[in-house]
Assembly symmetry: C2
Homo-oligomer: 329 residues x 2
């Protein structure tokens, strides 16, 4: 089955559901589901699976970092709504070749990511999964209902921000695939692929007092993830190529790999940076919050009328709507 | 890795967690995690994964029933605490040979099970999973905090009850494995394997007013699951072989397969009946509740001092503690 067929099968089924309980504020279609509870609070829920040979290669992914990543890509979804992650459940599929040592380090890394975010593992299932190691994670978070940042809130005139360099993870993966995985100068790129850092603190502060209209995390490339925001909000977007934040080592590696850097940065997945939109009047508070969170906030475009994501580069404009891709091995 | 190594890896990690938030009443170690919320209510959480060739064979498992089963084995865990299932999240791994038709029917069955229990699918992730189809499901339920039935409440002197015939699912699977899957007389056995029915209504009524001390669902065979109750409660148990409820078609098939029926009934997994313990004074209310729920309640033993599960058969007693097994293909 093709990529989009896969992606849409659950959404298609979810769309056939007629029942919407009054406490279900947001079902499938955002980074997390949102369920109202007492005291002005909501629960956030998200699930993501990682499969050997599809999302990671154990030949180069150290098990400790793989465990961290399985937790952190889910934690990132909580942060992308502005929430505080609290609990995790893990379905762990061990392949016939998974050693006790590998499994132990994997769980050490998974638990370390939870501890770092003051979370608790509350459920699990361990199964034999045949040829491929598999981690399926569900995470629950919590936040104030009136602070939740959805994808659907972007407004014409909003500035578009990201929380850091784009493309590093995709570039790091590409270096591994080409066997160029031993150069110190690219260590930040390898790291971006092996051990992504969810922007939970920044997400929480932005949701609480950043004046942000829409927010999500960048898992499938900005070209696709911003298109999700545009589609949910009924707006378009323009990205200015010269404003896309690119790291020096990324530019060096992209040149060596002969890949156009802006294309790799916007189409490459797994950055787990935040993308968010806000009115110009919020710009100063966004910069203050980013500093407070030890993060970055880079403005690289604007929400416009329409329904496409356009890239403005060298005096020309190009439609890049949903042009991101997930990296498959 | 061996079966118990697999099973214990998550529990071992969970045991290393030092933090227990005040609202986490029960972490890993029961059918569900239990998290306190407002109004005297708790949330229940559980996760279970099914892997092709390990937990099911698509050659004989119709996709619609497989989808139902993936939902229902999780729903059963909610029922086993006495809860009401509410929400589900699904990580679906599609293999290279999963057809659109198979995937569509699988999702139809999954959704049908949710609708039957008035539940909503609120999250999902669809991935390519290589050689094997895989379904990883997380379910959330809800109930009153003071009605939750844990594994740890069994008391010496309690009677031990089950909610229906044992061994039918294991026998049905055995018939498929032997190619004896076309005989009408065994249809209830095939069904028990393909389309198990979670005892949610019975579980809820028993928890609310059955005077039950401990309860869980039978997924790994009574010999193992009752041993979990005994271990958690610090007690032992005696099962009377003559009182184990066995269906006529089960006895017929077991004789044909030359498998001792009581052994198959107590060791075979996936019945998804409830096992519960209660003082003798509750016996009448339990029988009334079972009738009200359209279910059965069969008393087959007693909780005693000790730490073993003993089977009393033909004047002899035999230790069957943790002697159940999961069926692997």
């Amino acid at each position: 089955m093709g990529h989009w067929a896969e992606r849409n099968i659950i959404e298609a089924i979810a769309g056939r559901q007629r029942r919407t309980p009054s406490d279900l504020i947001q079902g499938i279609g955002d980074d997390c589901a949102v369920v109202r509870k007492a005291g002005g609070l909501v629960d956030l829920w998200t699930t993501d699976a990682l499969v050997e040979g599809v999302h990671f290669d154990p030949a180069w992914h150290p098990p400790y970092l793989l465990g961290r990543k399985a937790a952190n890509v889910n934690i990132s979804d909580i942060g992308a709504m502005g929430g505080r992650p609290r609990f995790a459940l893990l379905a762990l599929g061990l392949s016939g070749t998974t050693s006790d040592d590998f499994a132990g380090k994997l769980m050490d890394g998974f638990l370390a990511a939870l501890v770092e975010h003051d979370m608790v593992l509350i459920g699990g299932d361990t199964v034999y999964s045949g040829e491929r190691l598999m981690l399926s994670v569900t995470v629950c978070g919590e936040m104030a209902e009136n602070e939740v940042c959805y994808r659907s809130g972007a407004q014409v005139g909003d500035l578009i921000w990201v929380s850091g360099f784009l493309g590093n993870a995709a570039c790091g993966l590409e270096l591994y695939r080409c066997g160029k995985d031993k150069e110190d100068r690219y260590s930040s790129l390898y790291c971006a692929h092996l051990d992504p850092q969810p922007q939970v603190r920044l997400g929480r502060l932005l949701a609480a007092r950043g004046g942000v209209h829409a927010m999500m995390d960048i898992s499938d490339g900005l070209a696709t993830d911003l298109a999700h925001i545009c589609k949910a909000s009924g707006v378009g977007a323009v990205i200015v190529a010269d404003d896309v934040p690119l790291a020096d080592e990324f530019l060096h590696a992209a040149a060596m790999l002969r890949i156009p850097p802006v294309q790799l940065a916007l189409q490459g997945g797994e950055d787990y940076q935040l993308v968010f939109t806000a009115p110009e009047s919020s710009s100063q508070s966004i910069r203050i919050i980013a500093r407070e969170a030890g993060a970055s906030a880079i403005c690289l475009g604007r929400i416009v009328a329409g329904q496409s994501v356009l890239l403005y580069q060298n005096g020309k404009s190009q439609d890049i709507t949903f042009q991101g891709y997930e990296h498959r091995f």
